[in-house]
């Protein structure tokens, strides 16, 4: 009898230890500060999802531990110890019915919470701000329609980083120009697909200023892995400053500077696809980009205020050097706004990646940019081609791009 009790209690001790260790391992096993962690909500929409996760995951965990403990017990207890072949009973309907009803009840509880959250997360009538988001291979375009109450008097077109005010119910209106993409900033909400020909709505709201990582999560072809995005939340005052900076008129670099020569290079090469608002040709007429003639999706990032954002090439690369980037990302929510609004200075510019990109973009990011292989698209690129710029041109262009604040 004693032995039996000992065996039992030691077995119980073992199973508790195993269960405890597994749980600890799982918790300890998580990376600190993974930028796309789905358990660190930074806004009310993500918080709603997180609250649901905190219901369903523990339930699943407890059920799992119980079932596995039961399985372990049965495996040990009924091993062949030479006992006779048992009676050939065919089951107990009462047990079956109980084991059907209990999970059904648990799921009903989960279902009620789920139901409520689904409809809450689909609400749109409380929207305070609209941003149009368009996906294309392999970057995101943000288009802020005129919203005078927010100081947006002319549309702002940007890419890579979505900038929004904190404590504001932002509604993204998503679509796509080519294949299906999916917009996902885990700290702010779950994902929603951007489907060509359809407009899908996604609520975003951030509690505090900061920068939140995201990634396209619908497989969208060759460079899907490199299609990233970041959401930047600014205090309302800082957001107003950002809006003002994005509507600032264009100033051409002073004559005789390297940047001025860069403007000429830009006019000769880049403006075929990339718009810079206010840029004028040598004859004084506006320089209008025509990406629809060169790129299959019909769009290329608007570079008017390139150096006010921290990334380029679909947020695949940072415009900020590592230390400067860390300075922004690790800033406290009080300091964040000022640091972000400072933009990219010459000393902070990530020259290595930017120059490599200008030298040969398809070598940096897989794209369909080989001019001999574009028969199916009628000669249009999917991505940025190698422009064959000289090092001299690149020096000038970098100097010019630095003026695009």
């Amino acid at each position: 009898m004693d032995t039996v009790n000992n065996v039992k209690s030691s077995r119980r001790r073992i199973s508790t230890t195993v269960a405890g260790l597994t749980g600890l391992l799982f918790l300890a096993g998580c990376a600190t500060n993974a930028p796309q962690d789905t358990w660190q909500a930074k806004g009310p929409n993500a918080q709603k999802i997180s609250d649901l996760q905190w219901i369903v995951f523990p339930i699943a965990g407890v059920v799992g531990v119980l079932v596995l403990a039961l399985a372990g017990y049965i495996m040990f207890k009924y091993r062949d110890k030479g006992q006779p072949i048992p009676t050939q009973g065919h089951g107990k309907p009462t047990a079956e019915i109980i084991l059907t009803i209990v999970p059904a009840l648990i799921l009903t509880v989960v279902g009620v919470f789920t139901f409520r959250a689904i409809f809450e997360l689909a609400k749109t009538e409380d929207t305070e701000m609209i941003i149009n988001v368009t996906g294309q291979q392999w970057w995101w375009e943000y288009d802020y329609p005129v919203q005078t109450e927010l100081g947006i008097n002319t549309p702002i077109i940007s890419s890579g980083q979505l900038v929004m005010p904190v404590g504001t119910k932002v509604l993204l209106r998503e679509t796509s120009r080519d294949v299906i993409h999916s917009y996902w900033i885990p700290a702010l909400n779950g994902k929603k697909d951007a489907v060509p020909g359809r407009i899908h709505l996604l609520r975003l709201e951030a509690d505090k200023p900061g920068i939140f990582a995201g990634q396209c999560t619908e497989f969208c072809g060759l460079s899907h892995a490199n299609m990233r995005m970041e959401a930047v939340a600014l205090s309302k005052e800082d957001f107003a400053k950002w809006v003002a900076s994005q509507q600032k008129a264009y100033t051409s670099p002073a004559d005789g500077t390297l940047a001025k020569e860069g403007e000429t290079v830009f006019l000769n090469q880049c403006v075929r696809c990339h718009q810079v608002n206010g840029l004028k040709k040598a004859d004084g007429t506006p320089a209008l980009a025509a990406p629809d003639e060169n790129v299959y999706s019909g769009a290329a990032p608007n570079l008017s205020h390139l150096m006010s954002r921290n990334t380029f090439a679909g947020a695949m690369f940072d415009l900020l050097r590592k230390s400067c980037r860390a300075d922004v990302w690790d800033a406290t929510s009080e300091e964040f706004g000022a640091k972000y609004l400072a933009g990219v200075s010459e000393s902070c510019l990530n020259q290595t990646d930017l120059r490599a990109w200008l030298r040969n973009a398809p070598a940096m990011k897989p794209m369909y940019a080989d001019p001999t292989k574009l028969t199916k698209t009628g000669g249009k690129y999917r991505g940025m081609p190698n422009l064959g710029l000289t090092e001299n041109d690149i020096d000038k262009l970098v100097a010019y791009l630095l003026t695009l604040k």
Partner: protein, 662 residues
């Protein structure tokens, strides 16, 4: 149509008579040995074995693809594969594992054991059965030929429009993919009708549906799922084929199409497909667990009906693959609830398996270990599945590694462990030799540890925000500390090689058993169902006399009876004795369907016809001509054998015809 076998008490070698003289132009092949006997066979057992070999080859191909994927992802910014190669690799890994390994391997078990379990001598349509096999081989070859003909499909196994269109996937890979799947789909559709008719019409006398073994039940449910879901993917594939090859605009947004059409069509097929994959595994362990617990399955009717209701509800949950696709809250809510509902019959099964073992006398063979492995791993996968049914939570998880973890626990832990359990359980039945149990143990432990190392960390990776289908992951999103993405990706990659070693142990076991294995006893596991009433390996005609069934677990109840006083089971006969008794009372005339050239010829014709979509009309014309020829050959083969075929070698004239519908 029939070959005639002289009844004999020796181990039977079928005597084959000359083909019909009346239609000499359309002779039947007569070889009963050598490669011809395999190529032209219509014997469900030979076909089953060939299904198994083909599936195992593709399992290795898909496994190598998986290892390359894990090599690429072991470190950040992997350089083993280019983006293009990686996209092809994960597309083909999934396609191969689902359509060319899991389904055919389940088909192998179904083909081999379903007739044996219901006391039949073959399937209802033996020639169609052969056609299914050869079409599957053709589809698999076409799918994989694309690697050498300009690149494999690169749109993911879900092949979402419009990314699957000619502009976004300019190589021929997707064309080969469409054709390969279409042809493999014909194979499955034919096979499913064949097995449904077999189960409904050819059960031994006395075997009511509720006395049918659970494996046969689950296979029956699967065939109904296939009959209703395959036409949907067939339609989708036709649309895609016309879009890519003939300029149609079904998914072209500029022409007013909605790309979500493809997603609905794909998942209306794709979700029942998940149950097509898992239910055979459930069926296998529902045979293995009772056998090695020495008890009947707990709650047989509940297990059967929960299987059937999983199948039924499985048609009503497809949009849970689309929670992020923008369906609107009402649809999302409905599919969220239906997905929770399907967890209930699944839970019932798990409890029934555990209660089958409860109070038993458990014998830990390798087959049993794999079966218990399935119960445990599937429980984990099932519970992570419940967390997806919570739609808002799923919008965080979908398209991350958490999903990859989930479905590998369900499909690898569920399906593959079930299949391996089946290998060890039925190997002696098929080949007459027991697989080595010691190597089996190594096989099991490496697989179970490797599987958990590979897929366990993916839960963490996914919840920490690593999306799937990315050819590289970047340190910028990997987090800090020891347990960042780098750590878990490395663990997962190491795990995948441990898993591969486990499977290598199986292959070694097969080779060693084939060379040195000893003859297995007639009833090595003290089994319960009718297939064990046949010899090992079974004779070409399966049963010397068609058994008459009185019980669920008929074979067991012929061996044991309950002692009315002690209520324990008392052995009244051994399996060996029962088999000898059957041989002694063998039927005098047994008619079996004869071999035929035409299934193979027709399959080749269909394959060539399909290649014509890529290589132009002349190829198509050749293919069509072969199809036409094969169809005529097939039809003109005498459906009722000539008198000479009927003449019993002993001149008795008494005959029992069992299968003349080729």
């Amino acid at each position: 149509m029939a070959i005639i076998e002289r009844p004999s008490s020796e181990v039977a070698t079928p005597a084959v008579v000359a083909p019909s003289q009346a239609l000499g132009a359309i002779r039947r092949p007569v070889a009963s040995k050598g490669w011809r006997s395999w190529l032209f066979t219509v014997d469900h057992k030979k076909i089953g074995i060939m299904y198994g070999v083909v599936a195992m080859v593709f399992f290795i191909v898909g496994g190598v693809e998986a290892l390359l994927i894990r090599l690429q992802l072991a470190l950040p910014d992997g350089r083993i594969l280019s983006a293009d190669q990686y996209n092809q690799m994960f597309t083909m890994h999934a396609t191969t594992m689902i359509f060319l390994f899991a389904m055919p391997m389940a088909g192998a078990f179904a083909n081999y054991f379903l007739p044996l379990q219901i006391g039949a001598r073959d399937v209802a349509f033996p020639r169609l059965n052969a056609l299914s096999l050869w079409l599957l081989v053709g589809g698999g070859l076409i799918l994989n030929a694309s690697w050498f003909l300009g690149g494999a499909a690169d749109g993911g196994w879900f092949m979402y429009a419009p990314n699957s269109g000619p502009v976004f996937s300019p190589s021929n890979g997707v064309d080969f993919w469409v054709l390969g799947l279409q042809i493999a789909g014909i194979a499955s559709l034919i096979g499913s009708i064949n097995l449904i008719v077999t189960v409904l019409n050819m059960r031994a006398p006395g075997m009511t549906l509720m006395k049918m073994p659970v494996f046969t039940w689950m296979i029956l449910v699967v065939q109904f799922l296939l009959v209703f879901s395959l036409p949907v993917i067939t339609v989708a594939l036709v649309l895609l084929m016309f879009q890519r090859s003939y300029g149609a605009t079904f998914f072209d947004v500029s022409q007013g199409a909605d790309p979500l059409l493809w997603q609905h069509l794909f998942w209306i097929f794709g979700h029942p497909e998940v149950y097509v994959l898992i239910l055979p595994g459930f069926g296998i362990i529902s045979e293995v667990l009772p056998t090695f617990s020495r008890k009947p399955l707990f709650g047989y009717p509940f297990v059967v009906f929960s299987g059937a209701s999983i199948g039924l509800v499985g048609f009503g949950v497809w949009a849970h693959h689309m929670f992020a696709a923008g369906l609107g809250p009402v649809s999302v809510a409905v599919f969220s609830i239906s997905t929770m509902a399907i967890a209930i019959p699944t839970g019932v099964k798990i409890f029934n398996w555990l209660l089958t073992m409860w109070g038993g006398k458990i014998w830990y063979t390798t087959a049993m270990k794999f079966a218990i492995g399935l119960v445990v791993l599937f429980t984990i996968g099932g519970l992570s599945g419940v967390t997806h049914s919570v739609a808002p939570s799923d919008t965080q998880q979908t398209d991350t590694y958490y999903i990859v973890a989930h479905f590998h626990y369900v499909l690898f832990g569920g399906m593959v462990f079930g299949l391996f359990s089946g290998f060890y359980y039925w190997w002696p039945k098929v080949f007459g030799k027991l697989l080595n149990e010691k190597l089996g143990s190594w096989n099991f432990w490496f697989m179970v540890i490797g599987m958990n190392l590979t897929f366990g960390p993916m839960h963490i990776l996914g919840l920490q925000g690593q999306p799937r289908r990315m050819y590289v992951w970047t340190e910028a999103r990997a987090g800090e500390g020891l347990f960042n993405f780098g750590f878990w990706n490395m663990v997962s990659s190491i795990g995948s090689f441990v898993l591969a070693v486990g499977i290598l142990f199986f292959l070694i076991n097969v080779v060693i058993t084939a060379r040195n294995g000893k003859q297995a006893p007639a009833d090595p596991w003290d089994a319960r169902t009718l297939e064990w009433l046949a010899t090992s390996p079974p004779k070409e005609h399966n049963f010397d006399r068609i058994p008459v069934v009185h019980h669920l677990d008929e074979f067991f109840h012929r061996k044991y009876e309950e002692d009315p006083n002690t209520h324990t089971m008392r052995q009244i006969a051994t399996g060996e004795e029962l088999i000898r008794a059957e041989e002694a009372a063998a039927d005098s005339d047994i008619h079996l369907p004869g071999p035929s050239y035409w299934p193979l010829v027709l399959a080749i014709g269909i394959g060539v016809l399909g290649l014509g979509v890529v290589y132009g009309t002349p190829v198509m014309v050749v293919g069509a001509a072969v199809v036409l020829l094969a169809s005529f050959g097939w039809v003109l083969e005498p459906s009722v054998p000539e008198a000479i075929d009927y003449a019993s070698p002993d001149g008795d004239g008494h005959s029992k015809e069992i299968a003349t519908h080729g």
